[in-house]
Symmetry: C2
Subunit: 158 residues, 2 copies
DNA sequence: GCCCGCGTACTCGGATATTTTGTGTCCGAGTAAGAGGGG
DNA sequence: CCCCTCTTACTCGGACACAAAATATCCGAGTACGCGGGC
């Protein structure tokens, strides 16, 4: 169960845009330079976030990506699911109903215990990430860095 | 973040062995037949559980796999980590220290906020699974099925 | 009838292909800014 | 001095190779049972 590296990139990018004045757009080229990432591959993660309705993309000079909602309305779970997908990590194949020891349908009205505990663990994971929004990520950045970033990305708000 | 299908197999197999008289060994052939699984591939999951110290394997006729500890001493997390590995799903690459916007080492004494929240979510997931042991998985199986399984796998305790 | 030896069938274990997923890269279409010329 | 037009450079988006991991399979080594023969 290894998580795609793009998740880290997406979280960092959202946190960076979130610490700039609201409405500021940052191009993927600038983002890639800032974090030392391959621009073309980063594009894939940003596109996914656009499709999920987290970011808005604009073309042309002074274009780029900006937050689609207030930074307090975007959770870490939103970003993770945008990039990694919303499918649960555990998919029950109902093997209890297969093979020579197959359980009769009468005993399978309720979800099997194993599927239940995995779903519960998934909910715990989700709840932990849903409790964090981009605002809190920004707050965790040292003030000196935040000031430097704001200076570096000073640009017309479009 | 998709979880290997073998995790489901491992959990079901442990739960099945756990509902038999203590010390009962079940061959991988019998397990594969019981759940309708490819025996050769199931072998890989069982081997992983042996390496992790969850199961004990014995050769020869009447051989097979049995629990290495009491069913109340084996958690769902033990089984998951045996098959899926103990590596955390999120690995922080410290991209905050790379690229043109690299943070100075002075500001990186503490783990970055993003790494922290991902680690926290991972702990929540782990705690949820650590709270479940094989005994509880067995208890979730309908009594009629448990009786049938005990009858079917009646064998000398070796 | 009891004990010993041997063959046999059953077991697990590691080494080997195939398919799917994640990683990485490239090139083309669209758009808005900004310079330049005309009124 | 103001407005319109055109060029240009910048942006995103989708389509195309590459590498790693999960999936699936085969064959070989070892072991305990149980039968057969001998005592």
């Amino acid at each position: 169960m290894r998580l795609s590296q793009g998740v880290e990139w997406g979280l960092h990018c959202a946190a960076l845009i979130g610490q700039l004045p609201p409405g500021t757009a940052v191009s993927r080229r600038a983002l890639a330079r800032h974090f030392g990432l391959p621009e073309s591959y980063l594009a894939k993660q940003l596109q996914a976030m656009v499709r999920a309705g987290i970011l808005l993309a604009s073309s042309g000079p002074h274009g780029g990506f900006r937050l689609a909602r207030a930074s307090s309305e975007i959770t870490a779970l939103d970003i993770l699911e945008a990039i990694d997908g919303t499918a649960p990590p555990f998919v029950c194949q109902e093997i209890r109903q297969q093979g020579s020891g197959a359980a009769p349908a009468r005993d399978c009205k309720a979800a099997c215990g194993i599927s239940a505990i995995m779903a519960s663990a998934h909910r715990a994971w989700q709840n932990s990430l849903r409790a964090i929004d981009v605002d809190q990520l920004v707050a965790a950045v040292p003030p000196t860095l935040r000031a430097r970033n704001r200076r570096q990305f000073a640009k017309a708000t479009r």
